[in-house]
């Protein structure tokens, strides 16, 4: 069975609702994550609750990635 990471993403430093989604790759600091139209970088990851079956439950904090200016 494939391990599935259910991740609670919380954006720091701004009023953002964050997101919950499943991924097959364990999030690690430095990863880039796209939520809707915006891109964020993972800052910190913790295991939120113990795993159950093939599901692991993670909490990751995100910081916004500055949008590139048009050339």
């Amino acid at each position: 069975m494939v391990t599935i990471y259910k991740v609670s993403y919380v954006v720091t430093g701004e009023d953002h609702p964050g997101a919950i989604l499943n991924t097959e790759k364990r999030p690690i600091p430095g990863d880039l994550v796209r939520l809707g139209t915006r891109e964020f970088q993972v800052e910190e990851v913790i295991e939120l609750i113990p795993p159950r079956g093939e599901f692991h439950y993670m909490h990751a904090t995100l910081k916004p990635v500055p949008e590139k200016a048009d050339p």
Binding site: K6, S8, G18, I20, N22, L48, F55
Partner: protein, 148 residues
Amino acid sequence: MDPLSILQSVELFEGLTSEELRALAELCHERSFGNGEVITRQGEPGEELYIVYEGFVEVVRNAESSERAPRTVVHLGSGQIFGEMALLDRGPRSATVKSASDHARLLVIHRDDFERACEGNHHLGYVVMRNIAADLSFKLRHRHLTGR
């Protein structure tokens, strides 16, 4: 993508046998929504459970209130469910849910089909209800972490 392979990656169905998963997959209907399209509306009755398997949806409180400012509570992506509260307690929808992707794809299970499946197979019913409780708990933890 067939419903069975989608259901295998959804926590709601963790712990079910292959036969039980196949039975539930037969109850699922697929729907797609464009960006901003309303899927459920706060205050309206609801009889369906939704499973996101592609794209994102946005959960908004007071989306159409003239007295309170709209507030996005969370974005839900692949593998997440919504609509479970009205499905279980038969109350009105607690929030408006809109597509936040150009092409959000969902699986939908109607309450009558869902209840028949749970009542007809008590193992299936127990596992799914336990997983709904765990999902609600996870959403509450997320909400505490966001401070919303």
